[in-house]
C-alpha cells in the first residue's frame, strides 16, 4: 500500500480573506521548488492543498515538508477503489502504522458520492469493526480519540488517512515581502533570519568580509548558514561585501573606543544601500538587548541613526540560551560555532563604548568622507544565489 497524495492544511493563512490566493500560490511555488521532482504535482485549493506523489516516496517528501512555513499540518492519503474489502484493508494498515502502543481511535467518514450503497454510519461501523478485529490494544473513543481515521468516499475513488504531522506554522516564505538580513556567522543572525522567513519574509543576506584578516573558511561558513536557511522557504541571496578598506580606515580615523560603533554604522549604511537596490523594505538584525557592547540601547540608537529604514530585531527580547536552542533546531548551531575569525572579531577594541553618544560618533566620522569607500564596497560586492548547486562536487560523488 503506497501513499498516493498528501493533504496540507493551512495555518494562519486560513484567516486571510480575499487575498488568500496570493499566500496559497506562494506556498505552492515554494513547495514545488523545494521538492524539485518532476513526478510531483501540487494543487492549491482555497482551504487545503494537495501534493500528488505519482510514485515519489512520502517519507522523503515528509522530511522536507516539515520545514515549509505556512503549513499547519499535513497527512499522507491512500487511495483505494470503492470495494469495501480494499477500504477495510487499507484502513487497518493505516491504523497499524500510526499507532504507538495502546490507543483509541474513531472513524470519520465523508460520503461525497451519495450513490455509495452504505451510509456513513454503516461505513464507520464496517471499517471500525475491521480495524478492531485486526489489532490489539485498540479501542473506539468517538469523543477524544488519539487517532482519527478519515475516510472520504468520492465517485472516482476512496481516500483514507490517519497520520497527521505538524507543519512549521507561520506564513509562506516570500508572501510578506523582502528584507535585508545582516548575517555575521555568529549564532544569532541565522536565527533572526529564520524567524523572519517563518513570517513570510524573503531574505537578502548581507555579509561583511575582510580579507586577508578573515579567511575563505569564514566565507564558506556564511554560505553554509545561508544555504541552511534555504530549507525554510525558497532561495536566499547572499551579498558578500568586501569590508577591509573601510575597517582599516575607521581604525585610523576614529578613536579606539568608538571604532565598533562607527563600524556598525558603516555596515548599516551599506546594508541600507543593498536594501534599496534589491527592493527590500526593512533591515533585519540578530541583535538581542544587552548581549554585547553594540547591543545596548545607547549603541542601537547611535547605529540606527544612519537610516530611517525600519530595522527589525526579532531576537531583541530573547535570551541567549533560547536562541541557541532554536539554532540547534534549525541546524545552524553547529555551523555557527566553527571558530573562524569574522569581521567583528578583528580590530575589536579592548574596551568598546557601551554607551556611545550619537553626536560624538558623528563628529569623529565628519573628518573623512566615507561615501566613496561605501560606493566602492558595494560595487565590489559578490552576490551568490543559494541553494548553490555545487555541481562539480555533486557530480563526482
Amino acid at each position: 500500500m503506497n501513499y498516493d497524495r498528501i493533504l496540507i492544511r493551512y495555518g494562519e493563512m486560513s484567516t486571510k480573506g480575499r487575498n488568500r490566493s496570493k499566500f496559497t500560490n506562494k506556498m505552492k511555488s515554494n513547495i514545488k521548488r523545494l521538492l524539485a521532482d518532476d513526478r510531483i504535482q501540487v494543487e492549491a485549493q482555497r482551504d487545503r492543498m494537495f501534493i500528488y506523489l505519482n510514485g515519489a516516496s512520502f517519507y522523503e517528501v515528509k522530511e522536507q515538508l516539515l520545514h515549509v512555513s505556512g503549513i499547519q499540518s499535513f497527512s499522507p492519503v491512500v487511495k483505494t477503489s470503492q470495494e469495501l474489502d480494499e477500504m477495510k484493508e487499507a484502513a487497518l494498515e493505516l491504523v497499524k502504522r500510526a499507532m504507538i502502543g495502546a490507543t483509541t481511535f474513531k472513524v470519520e467518514t465523508r460520503r461525497a458520492d451519495k450513490t455509495f450503497p452504505l451510509d456513513t454510519h454503516a461505513l464507520n461501523h464496517e471499517i471500525g469493526g475491521h480495524v478492531l478485529r485486526g489489532t490489539e490494544n485498540v479501542t473506539v473513543d468517538v469523543h477524544h480519540p488519539n487517532l482519527t481515521l478519515v475516510v472520504e468516499v468520492r465517485q472516482e475513488a476512496v481516500y483514507l488517512s490517519c497520520e497527521t504531522y505538524p507543519g512549521a506554522g507561520g506564513l509562506p516564505a516570500g508572501a510578506a515581502g523582502k528584507a535585508v538580513l545582516l548575517l555575521s556567522g555568529g549564532l544569532d543572525s541565522p536565527v533572526a533570519g529564520y524567524m523572519m522567513m517563518k513570517r513570510g519574509v524573503e531574505i537578502e543576506a548581507v555579509h561583511f568580509f575582510s580579507p586577508p584578516y578573515t579567511s575563505e573558511r569564514a566565507k564558506q561558513k556564511v554560505m553554509d548558514l545561508a544555504d541552511t536557511l534555504t530549507k525554510y522557504g525558497g532561495h536566499v541571496r547572499l551579498h558578500i561585501v568586501p569590508f577591509t578598506h573601510i575597517q582599516e580606515t575607521i581604525h585610523k580615523q576614529v578613536p579606539e573606543n568608538y571604532t565598533m560603533t562607527s563600524t556598525r554604522r558603516m555596515m548599516m549604511r551599506i546594508a541600507d544601500r543593498i536594501r534599496e537596490q534589491t527592493g527590500a523594505l526593512a533591515i533585519v538584525t540578530g541583535e538581542s538587548l544587552g548581549q554585547v557592547a553594540s547591543q545596548t540601547m545607547e549603541s542601537m540608537a547611535a547605529i540606527n541613526n544612519v537610516t530611517n529604514t525600519p530595522v527589525l530585531r526579532p531576537l531583541i527580547a530573547s535570551d541567549k540560551l533560547d536562541i541557541m536552542d532554536t539554532a540547534r533546531k534549525i541546524g545552524t548551531h553547529d555551523i555557527s560555532i566553527l571558530p573562524y575569525e569574522d569581521c567583528c572579531t578583528i580590530f575589536t577594541p579592548a574596551a568598546p563604548k557601551t554607551r556611545p553618544r550619537t553626536e560624538k560618533v558623528q563628529y569623529f566620522e565628519s573628518f573623512l568622507d566615507f561615501e566613496p569607500l561605501i560606493e566602492q564596497a558595494i560595487r565590489d560586492t559578490e552576490t551568490i544565489m543559494l541553494p548553490k548547486k555545487e555541481k562539480e562536487m555533486d557530480d563526482l560523488l
Binding site: S215, E390, M393, D394, L397
Partner: protein, 380 residues
C-alpha cells in the same frame, strides 16, 4: 573472458568510481587542512562525501571516521576501545571466526596484558548469542563480532547480540561489516551497534579506502599520532580522492540489488548438491554472494589453479590467510575435518557476475573434477 568469482578478496572497481578518483585527484589535490581556497575546496569535498555516506546510512556526519580500509577500521575500533577504556576493564569477547585484522589485533592485546575470549561457532559457522553472554565478565569492555563471515558467508546474529548487550551498558559492541555492508542489510540502531567497520574495495571502490562508524558518545584512542585529522581520531593527510570515490561507490550500492547474486549462488549450490563429490560449508540463509565448499580428495590450491586455466578466478580461503598454507582457522573452528578443510574453495560473486558465468563454472567443474580425481587415484 575472465570469470571473476573472488569478490570477497577484492572487487573490480566500478568505472565511474575510478573516474571520480582520477578527477578528484587532479581537481582537488590540495591539502584539506590548508588555509587557502584550494585547500578549503578539498575539505569541502570530503565533508560532502561524509554527508552523503552519513545520509545513506541514516547516521550523523560526526559518526564517520575515514580510514585506509577494513584492517585499519578494525584495529582502530578494537585497540582504540581497549586503550581508551582500560580503566574500565581489560577483557574482550570476540569469536574464533573473525578476520585476521580482528583476530590478530586481539592477539596483540593479549601480549600487552588484556585477556580475550574467542567464542567458538556451531558447525554451521554461526556464533550463538548465549555463548557470547556466557563469555562476558565484569571486566569486559568490548564485544567484537563480524556481520558476515568472509570465508563461509554465514550471517552472524549481530542484531540479537546487540540487543543482548543493552543489558551490559559498560560493554561496547563492534561489528566488522566488511563483507556484509551493502549485501546483507543491518539496522545499526536496532542492532545497537557502537562501532562498524567498512572497506571500500569490497564494494567496487578502491583499495585504501574505508571508514569506521563510531556512534556519538563512544570514544576510541587514536592509533596514529599526528596532525589530528578526522577530529583527532585518525591523523594523516586525508585521502581526498579516495574518500570521494568511496562516497560514489556507496551511492552506487543503492542502485543494485545484492539479492540478485543469490540467484546465481543458489543455482551453483543446487548443482553442487546434485554432484556427490562436493560438501558445502555455507549454511542456507547466508549472505547472497558467497559459497564455500570442498571437493574432498582435491586440494583447494590445485583446483584454484585448474580453474584459472579455464579463466575462472576463485580462491581457497580468504585471501589474507591463503598464503599461510594452513587449513582455514574458520573451518577448523567449525569442526570440519582437516582433509575437507584442505580441499575448500570459496567463490564470491558481485553485481557484475551473470547466470551464464555460473553455468560455465559448473561446466568447468564437471570437466576438471573427474580428471583431477583420476590423477590422484593413479598416484595412490
Amino acid at each position: 573472458m575472465m570469470i571473476y568469482f573472488d569478490n570477497s578478496a577484492t572487487t573490480m572497481p566500478d568505472e565511474s568510481v575510478m573516474d571520480t578518483f582520477v578527477k578528484a585527484g587532479i581537481r582537488f589535490f590540495a591539502n584539506p587542512s590548508s588555509l587557502h581556497s584550494p585547500g578549503m575546496e578539498a575539505e569541502r569535498l570530503i565533508e560532502k562525501a561524509r554527508e552523503q555516506i552519513a545520509g545513506l546510512m541514516k547516521v550523523s556526519t560526526d559518526e564517520i571516521i575515514f580510514t585506509s580500509g577494513g584492517t585499519e577500521s578494525n584495529n582502530l575500533a578494537i585497540k582504540g576501545v581497549a586503550s581508551f577504556y582500560k580503566g574500565r576493564g581489560r577483557h574482550i569477547v570476540t569469536t574464533m571466526i573473525e578476520h585476521p585484522s580482528v583476530f590478530e589485533a586481539c592477539r596483540d592485546l593479549e601480549k600487552s596484558g588484556y585477556s580475550v575470549t574467542y567464542v567458538k561457532p556451531d558447525e554451521n559457522g554461526i556464533v550463538q548469542k548465549k555463548e557470547i553472554e556466557q563469555a562476558i565478565t565484569g571486566e569486559t569492555v568490548l564485544v567484537s563480532v563480524m556481520h558476515v563471515n568472509n570465508e563461509t558467508g554465514a550471517v552472524q546474529p549481530v542484531k540479537e547480540i546487540g540487543k543482548l548487550l543493552k543489558k551490559y551498558p559498560s560493554v561496547l559492541f563492534h561489528v566488522d561489516d566488511v563483507q556484509g555492508f551493502g549485501k546483507v542489510p543491518l539496522d545499526l540502531q536496532a542492532a545497537c551497534v557502537d562501532l562498524l567497520s567498512v572497506s571500500g574495495h569490497k564494494l567496487h571502490g578502491l583499495n585504501g579506502t574505508g571508514f569506521l562508524y563510531k556512534r556519538q558518545g563512544v570514544q576510541v584512542a587514536p592509533l596514529f599520532s599526528g596532525g589530528g585529522q578526522e577530529r583527532g581520531f585518525r591523523s594523516g593527510t586525508e585521502n581526498v580522492s579516495g574518500i570521494a570515490s568511496l562516497a560514489k561507490a556507496i551511492r552506487l550500492l543503492q542502485q543494485s540489488d545484492p539479492e540478485k547474486t543469490r540467484e546465481m549462488t543458489g543455482f551453483i549450490r543446487g548443482q553442487l548438491i546434485k554432484r556427490e563429490w562436493s560438501i558445502i560449508h555455507t549454511p542456507p540463509q547466508s549472505a547472497p554472494h558467497i559459497l564455500h565448499f570442498s571437493i574432498p580428495g582435491i586440494k583447494g590450491e590445485v583446483l584454484v589453479h585448474a580453474l584459472e586455466k579455464e579463466e575462472i578466478i576463485v580462491s581457497t580461503t580468504s585471501a589474507c590467510s591463503s598464503k599461510q598454507n594452513k587449513p582455514s582457522r574458520i573451518l577448523e573452528a567449525m569442526n570440519v575435518n582437516r582433509e575437507h578443510a584442505a580441499s575448500a574453495i570459496r567463490i564470491s560473486l558481485s553485481r557484475y557476475n551473470t547466470m551464464e558465468e555460473s553455468v560455465k563454472f559448473i561446466d568447468a567443474l564437471d570437466r576438471i573434477v573427474p580428471v583431477l580425481a583420476k590423477k590422484r587415484n593413479e598416484r595412490t
